[in-house]
Amino acid sequence: MAPPARYCVPGERLCSTEEATAGSGTYTRHGFIFSSLAGCLERKNEDNELPVVSVVRDSESQLLPNVGAVVTCKVCSINSRFAKVHILYVGSTPLKSTFRGTIRKEDIRATEKDKVEVYKSFRPSDIVLAKVISLGDAQSNYLLSTAENELGVVVARSEAGVQMVPISWCEMQCPRTHTKEFRKVARVQPQFLQT
């Protein structure tokens, strides 16, 4: 049977930095590791390396989209310059509250940026994979980019309301009406597919 879990509160000293490395939910000060969350202490031993000490809670509710993170978002409106989206997931963790983001026209594709048109890339209610490139300034919110092969639209519905199938890197087809619509299609990597 596993030893009873140790719980700790913020500010509790866990161990010295010589014994372990600080993981998530901790911080270091004056050569010691302290807890920064109220939760359960976890110690992971990696081979030959210092164990990683972290404090975990059951739900990682406090996650924020940070620069470089891949996020899942839903398009809510488009115009000729940018698409506005709601960020729903960071990685595979759902967010407790929605954060708004913007995909600008020049951040949609990596190449031929000048020929990109927003309405040929996204439509409202599309589900898009994107990467956070900046936290934005006073005028804009999170700035996102889909300028990678793996990023772009993953789920889209046709005008008939049926989920479309990607047929090329810039087109999707409705299985019922066989009409083709333009999208910035993502090549979803197999490891991200969940069934």
Partner: protein, 269 residues
Amino acid sequence: MPLDHRRLRGPEESQPPALWAAAAAEDEEDEKGAGAAARDPCALRPLFARAGLLSQAQGSAYVELGSGTKVLCAAWGPREAAEPGPGRLICEFRRAPFAGRGARGRPGAAAEREAEREAAAALREALEPAVRLGRYPRARLAVSALLLQDGGSALAAAVSAAALALADAGVEMYDLAVGCALCRPPAPAASWMLQPAEPEERRAAARLTLALLPALNQVSAVLGGGRGGPPEDWAQALRLGLDGCHRQYPVLRQSLLRAAQRRRSTPPS
């Protein structure tokens, strides 16, 4: 038949009768005051703390002091903020309309709002050093304290409760914050007293509210005033208050641990 309020014209201004009956009440209070003076100035009041009791808030805490002060706090984790920059902590302090002794204050009255706003600012100053705001860029954290009953040391209790609520919400923090109030009775040679009750606080010659980050041994709030004294006198008060904070810490810590365990054993559906 409904009463016609327009016919029963009362005076335009009215005053609480308690003010004019003050003389009689004072004696009674003095007796109580004598009893209070007999109280050991270093003694802490019984403290009850419980974290994680509201289901709709992300984090919550309830703190009750033996003197009758009851504070309920709720905290919410990061939400989107309009302005960029580091995270911001938004604090709110409200008094229930029936919190105080005597006549019910009109909620939303200017003076009431002003006092609440000042207490909220003090709460923010006390909590900000404890929260790792750098971890929450472009987001705001919110904590709101509701004073259900004012039995003295209300702000101090609110600081403790708010810190518990934030920790319970899973906000990353450097440390908890523990609040403690002190007062000096009006008698000339009186010494400082920990955790005054409401009548003691009202008549005190000087008051002080402290907040301590116990694990880091850092003082995050000092707020006090009243009859002047040499620095040594205030230093003594500070030492007494910090000691009081340290002594309250185990109770608060226990309550948080219990909440964390409860969370673990009953995973959210």
